[in-house]
Amino acid sequence: MNELVKNAVVEIHDLSVSYDRKPVLWGIDLTIPKGSLAGIVGPNGAGKSTLIKSVMGLIPLNSGYARLFDKDLDEVRQRVSYVPQRESVDWDFPTSVKEVVLMGRYRKIGLFRRPRKADIDAAMKALDMVGMADYAKRQISQLSGGQQQRVFLARALAQQADLYFMDEPFAGVDAATEKAIFNILQEMSSQGKTVVVVHHDLQSVAKYFDWLILLNLRLVASGKIQNVFNRPLLEEAYGGKLTLLSEVGELIKKEEFPGRE
């Protein structure tokens, strides 16, 4: 099951990635149409984060490519936003909520320059959207997990992009934050923005997303939620591990086997 659409916002073609020689993604092909609220779902270690990191150019590819808006990432960076996992940064860093959100404006501000008034307005507006305007001056070390996630979302909103990649925005947040974040994502998608979310909670998948990507080292399925969110495909993604695939991967690592060029 792999629905390929024309004029996709995200087009991934034959993408393979390895960590320390061991393949973690095998030949991924998929497309995501404009305005989707797309979920990437799969078991632990399925390569979900790896997939969006490699699309964001943070991990070198073994093969294939990803095109966004039918262009290379470098040509469209100002239209793309990335929300890393909350744990990927040190929240004890000496900085304030407002300054973290302002980081979303750094590309627009450019190198060497200071944030302008308009950038501060945009940051405050983004903070307001996630319900954190009162926390602007707060030190980030004083935030709860849900508040940290909202700050990261606000930073992405301040970028005013058209395509958003989010790595587990719902992980470890309280119920109120989960609802608030979901409402914002839905609003973004209704404005024609495309949102791609790495997600781990199967229960809420059908409610949240209209496009679903099932991943487990390889692509299991990608398509409209009603076509993908069904028992056989979920079982294929979560159930029977492809032991052979993992073993071949280990072998490649051990034998110093040449990677794909």
Partner: protein, 434 residues
């Protein structure tokens, strides 16, 4: 006193060199060190400072044998130091990237190999005779007192470069220290920025090393940042504070070595920095140890007071008379509190207006009664919550409630009451007072 005036009026030109030299060195390494510290690369300073030694020796050999210069030329030595210092970082990065070795191993390897080669070359130069006269050995342990006008000019230029670059790239350096992958996604040249920051670190080390030497250099880089971090949560203030600590220690170090000529400047700078760091560690508000101890004691005192008022309420519950005066024995009988603590708690509560006393007996005031009632209510509500929502057996909930009753805020109290719908009885069938 006289020496203080002599010192600060620069009676001898040498004082000026040593003072300004030390301050410039300490300030610039403190500022750069803030980023090294935040990037969690504290050991980088140590590696670079050891790795500059072979560079210094090589450029000395080069300048005296090839160029035929009789004395050490600070600029040529600096260039050599810079090159090998830089190379050592490159070596670490490549070992981590290309092999299975982890960063700590790569760091240890790089440091010792570069330093080993440095010592080797140093011994060679000494055998040739002449290193003592050229002052080359001062690099090993530092010798701020031997700074001369030429050195000072060079340091000033380097310090200005360092501070200017950090000022210009403050936003970028902050971002790559906090969230490098985000920086890379928005298209910032992370590799170049990293390179720039490493270059600044190497520059700071290469200059600082002349004052404090190879071994103590890491302290110049990291200690001011670590101390400043205790006092503020704002990176800008942290950098200013670190620079201030650096400047102060530079002045004190220079002064001490002036007053007591046998005393070396560099080690004194590091000593002063360490004292500042220790003081910060103990005295800083919020993060300091003393603050934490005081806070803990305040909370213990509060718990004691609330427990005493709760006891009065429980005694009243039993005898159905809340206003009855109680003796010390009656209280201790109900709950065996430490007598000394109990007495001081009673006195405090009296001062605060929660208790009356007449002779040996104590009586709660209206406010003391309400407070005791509230604590007991929270205790029993929490027990209900634990049994109902966490399914904990009724005989296991008491100890937890003993703690939580003192913690619950008025907002949580309302939530708890609403959630449990004002129950009448706790899991042990005692009435919950409202």
């Amino acid at each position: 006193m006289e020496s203080l005036i002599e010192f600060f009026t620069f009676k001898y030109p040498n004082i000026k060199y040593v003072l300004f030299g030390s301050v410039l060195l300490a300030v610039s390494s403190a500022i750069v060190g803030c980023f090294t510290f935040l990037k969690k690369k504290a050991l980088v300073g140590d590696v670079v400072s050891h790795a500059v030694l072979p560079g210094i020796c090589l450029s000395f050999i080069f300048s005296s044998n090839v160029l035929g210069l009789p004395e050490k030329n600070p600029l040529i030595l600096l260039v050599g130091a810079f090159l090998t210092g830089w190379l050592s970082i490159l070596v670490i990065d490549n070992i981590v990237k290309k092999t299975k070795l982890k960063e700590d191993t790569a760091t240890g390897l790089s440091l010792s190999v570069f330093f080993g080669v440095g010592i080797l070359l140093m011994t060679y130069i000494q055998k040739q005779g002449g290193s003592a006269q050229t002052g080359l050995d001062s690099f090993l342990f530092g010798k701020a007192a031997s700074l001369v006008g030429d050195d000072l000019m060079l340091f000033a230029v380097i310090s200005i470069i360092l501070i200017a670059v950090i000022f210009l790239l403050f936003k970028e350096f902050t971002l790559i220290s906090f969230d490098p992958s985000f920086a890379s996604v928005i298209g910032f040249p992370v590799r170049w920025l990293d390179l720039a920051l490493t270059t600044l670190t190497v520059l700071a080390v290469v200059t600082g090393i002349q004052a404090v030497g190879v071994v103590l250099m890491a302290a110049m880089l990291i200690t001011p940042a670590a101390a400043a971090r205790f006092w503020t949560n704002d990176l800008r203030y942290m950098i200013l504070l670190a620079a201030g600590f650096g400047a102060f220690s530079g002045i004190v170090g220079a002064y001490i070595s002036y007053v007591a000529p046998a005393m070396p400047t560099g080690p004194w700078i590091v000593m002063v920095l360490s004292v500042i760091a220790l003081l910060s560690f103990f005295l800083a508000p919020e993060k300091g140890i003393l603050f934490k101890i005081l806070k803990r004691r305040r909370i213990q005192q509060m718990i004691l007071e609330e427990n005493i008022l709760k006891l009065f309420f429980q005694l009243g519950e039993k005898s159905k008379d809340f206003d009855e005066p109680r003796t010390l024995d009656q209280i201790v009988d109900k709950r065996p509190l430490d007598l000394r603590k109990l007495k001081s708690g009673l006195q405090t509560l009296k001062k605060q207006g929660y208790l009356h006393s007449s002779g040996d007996s104590w009586q709660v005031t209206e406010e003391g009664f309400s407070k005791g009632k509230r604590v007991l209510k929270l205790h029993r509500l929490w027990e209900v919550y634990l049994t109902k929502y966490l399914k904990i057996a009724p005989d296991h909930v008491h100890d937890d409630a003993e703690r939580i009753e003192h913690l619950i805020t008025p907002e949580l109290e309302k939530q708890l009451e609403a959630l449990l719908e004002y129950p009448d009885k706790d899991p042990h069938e005692s009435d919950i007072p409202y």
